[in-house]
């Protein structure tokens, strides 16, 4: 059975790591629903957040193949219950749409959105939320005219207690053990 999974992948900041990760999805014919990357709380460690729909069995295999890539430090997969996540949406609407009384302003307030910029010709509205929420505002703004709409990929943090810094320490330890094993057996 297919389900939505969010992968958090922590990597070194190296050219090519992204292509190696996406290649794993391409090979297995899995479509990536959204993807986003930025530096994590640890300097030099990047965090990719990828959303896919697939079976649990498949995500387990994909997860292992991602972790196997050199340059990938640690990867996790989560169901939506195990994370807190958001997307951000920007709506560019004509300034004249605000001339229909308070309709648009009420919409913005009711949807917990806010205005970023006001220009003579257009106004830019920002809203953070889950996809269905940003979509709902989109649908409501549509009658007033939308000049541009952009939605980010998902950003997510996990609810799990153990943080990446602790995993990185485990990794250092594993790496030392592995080195010892290598030198010991003259591999």
């Amino acid at each position: 059975m297919e389900k939505e999974f969010t992968l958090s992948i922590f990597t070194e900041n190296k050219i090519g790591v992204l292509q190696r990760i996406t290649g794993i999805f391409t090979r297995r014919h899995i479509n990536i629903d959204s993807m986003i990357a930025s530096e994590s709380e640890v300097k030099g460690v990047y965090r990719f957040t990828i959303v896919v729909n697939c079976s649990l069995d498949l995500i387990k295999k994909v997860h292992k193949q991602i972790e196997k890539q050199i340059g990938v430090l640690k990867a996790f997969y989560f169901t939506n219950k195990e994370i807190v996540y958001q997307e951000i949406a920007l709506y560019k609407v004509p300034t004249k749409s605000f001339s229909h009384g308070n309709d648009v302003e009420n919409l913005i307030r009711n949807h917990n959105a806010h205005i970023l910029t006001v220009e003579p010709d257009y106004i830019i509205i920002e809203k953070a939320g889950h996809k269905d929420e940003t979509q709902e505002l989109f649908n409501k703004l549509l009658p007033y005219g939308i000049l541009q709409f952009a939605r980010s990929g998902r950003v997510a943090v996990s609810k799990q207690i153990k943080e990446i810094t602790a995993y990185l320490r485990d990794l250092e330890e594993a790496s030392l053990y592995s080195e010892k094993e290598l030198l010991l057996n003259n591999k």
Binding site: G16, K61, K64, K68, G71, V72, E172, Y177, S178, E179
Partner: protein
């Protein structure tokens, strides 16, 4: 690290010398113990070749006739010498010609370090002459790859390349080096790399899993061990033998696992999979515990996964965590190097006997001998069979030669009928099934074997013509390669499928072949053709004692099929015999 070693390293670090990037590459290769490499020259790699010219006394370079040949030769060299194969080519077409070999080495876990020239860094991305995005193209078929654009990056990149290629589950790596980085100078010093944070080649052994495995094995009535190439790669042959002898467990082998365990051992039951032996396939679905060591449950081994060993508890020992539960769901997984895992497993397993269970293999073996093996190896009439030639050579060489094969019917026949009594004896393209692998591979295998062991290459008439130009390399180096061309005038393996599944509609599988002996002569290689059974014996004797390369063409039965067989996606225990 003891203090002495440390100071040595520090001293080294201090003594930097000013060299070109090209020279840094060659010096780094020497630091990693490379004394032989394979390759093909071209514009973007010329600076390195210019350096190689003055290093000929320390680093031999084998000039092949096609870059694909360089790869397969280097792969075979790696498999026999147990050192990483090193391969070099120019940018663009030279580099893309490596791709088949990379894919082959990736699937068959062969340690390879490949170096490709690249256009100048200022030209990258501009569609310059002979520019190909080699890092992009090779990404899915390399364990790791990297583009060097600055000379200073060279020592670390090469050190990383060797560390990654040979450690953990081995595999091919590629370094793409721009021409300006080969010309530029750097302050050179070299240090080996033994650690990369995001790469754990040897995970900590889970002792809990080991004792769980031992418990299951000790309780087993009908245990069965599958041996894969992992045992050869880890050098665990001795431990493997000790393990199966102590617990008295019959052994089935994957194609690449052959020669990890002697074929003439009483516990050896044969090869697994599509064209493997009858007993190990049938009994895969009879055993109560299946212990897979250093193998990855390839679909050619398992057939239909839904009906594969569902009755058995599965213990999987493999160094690559991504292989665990990939195809077959395990009950106990030990993610470890085979040697390490076996060393800790052996003391925990009980000495045991499984007489009746082992006899059941012998009973099945009898069926196969009667229905298949006798017909293949001891025919008295009709055209020559592949099996009888291979079987004869096996007898005459005591199963102690190195066998190289191409891909197809002759490959399966070689795997089935050569007795691998000595370890490290089969070089074949398993995972990728690359036609054209055999002839260049025989080059690398022979160079690695030197005069210690004899190399025989069984090749089909189709695959022979895919890389036939390597006869030039063999001739130039006067390599002691004995080529046995099993000529059936067909792309035999595919013709067999057309026979069995396409009502004999032989679409494009029949070949009009050249006079192979004349071709060999053109290359300065002696050859002979036989087509009568009476000639096999003497000709093989002559072949064995012949010095230098030789092409023996054997005209074999044109439309013979390889049996037994588990048709693709079929159930292993429903293997068909005829």
């Amino acid at each position: 690290m003891d203090t002495q070693a440390k100071t040595k390293v520090e001293e080294k670090r201090k003594t930097k010398i000013r060299v070109s990037g090209a020279e840094a590459i060659v010096r780094s290769l020497l630091e990693e113990g490379t004394d032989l490499m394979f390759g093909y020259i071209g514009g973007a790699i010329m600076p390195i070749y210019d350096v190689l010219y003055s290093y000929q006394d320390r680093l031999q370079h084998v000039m092949v006739r096609h870059e694909q040949g360089a790869m397969h030769a280097a792969q075979a060299y790696a498999r026999i010498s147990k050192k990483p194969g090193v391969c070099m080519s120019t940018s663009g077409p030279g580099a893309t010609n490596l791709i088949t070999g990379l894919a082959d080495a990736m699937l068959d876990s062969t340690p390879m370090v490949c170096i490709t020239g690249q256009v100048g860094s200022g030209l990258l991305g501009s569609d310059a002459f002979q520019e190909t995005d080699v890092v992009g193209v090779s990404m899915p078929v390399t364990k790791w790859n990297f583009q060097i654009t600055k000379a200073e990056e060279i020592p670390e990149a090469v050190a990383k390349a060797f560390f990654i290629a040979r450690s953990g589950r081995p595999g091919p790596v590629l370094l793409d080096i721009t021409k300006d980085a080969q010309f530029a100078e750097l302050d050179y010093s070299y240090e080996k790399i033994t650690q990369i944070r995001s790469y754990i080649p040897y995970p900590k052994l889970n002792l809990n899993a080991v004792s769980q495995a031992a418990e299951i094995i000790n309780a087993a009535k009908k245990p069965f061990v599958l041996v894969g190439q992992g045992v050869l790669l880890s050098g665990a042959q001795k431990e493997f033998k000790e393990f199966v002898e102590k617990a008295e467990i019959p052994v089935g082998s994957t194609l690449l696992g052959l020669s990890a365990f002697p074929s003439n051992h009483s516990l050896f039951t044969g090869m697994l999979g599509m064209h493997g032996n009858y007993a190990p396939n049938i009994n895969t679905n009879e055993c109560d515990v299946l212990i897979a060591i250093g193998m990855r449950f390839d679909d050619r081994v398992t057939g239909n996964l839904k009906t594969y060993a569902t009755q058995a508890k599965i213990i999987h020992i493999d160094l690559d965590n991504a292989e665990i539960d990939k195809n077959v769901k395990t009950d106990v997984a030990i993610v470890a190097d085979a040697k390490q895992a076996l060393q800790s497993l052996i003391p925990l397993v009980n000495s045991n006997t499984h007489k009746e269970w082992i006899e059941s293999f012998s009973e099945l073996r009898k069926v196969e001998i009667e229905k298949v093996i006798n017909k293949d190896c001891n025919p008295t009439s009709g055209a020559i069979k592949m099996g009888e030639v291979i079987n004869k050579l096996s007898e005459k060489t005591n199963g102690e030669a190195i066998i190289v094969t191409d891909v197809g019917q002759h490959q399966m026949a070689s795997a089935r009928y050569y007795q691998f009594n000595k370890t490290q004896s089969l070089v074949t393209s398993g995972g990728l099934g690359t036609m054209g692998f055999g002839l260049p591979a025989s080059v690398g295998a022979q160079i690695a074997a030197g005069d210690k062991r004899d190399v025989y290459a069984f090749i089909g008439d189709g695959g022979f013509q895919m890389t036939i130009q390597e006869l030039g390399t063999i001739s130039q180096l006067n390599l002691n390669v004995k080529i046995i061309l099993l000529n059936n005038n067909f792309l035999g393996m595919v013709r067999q499928w057309q026979d069995m599944f396409n009502e004999k509609r032989y679409a494009y599988t029949e070949l009009t072949n050249p006079d192979f002996i004349t071709i060999a002569k053109g290359f300065g290689i002696e050859g002979k053709t036989i087509s009568n059974r009476e000639d096999i014996d003497k000709t093989l004797n002559d072949l064995i004692t012949h010095k230098g390369p030789f092409l023996l063409e054997v005209k074999v039965e044109k439309e013979a099929n390889v049996f037994p067989m588990v048709p693709a996606g079929g159930t292993v225990s429903e293997m068909i015999l005829e």
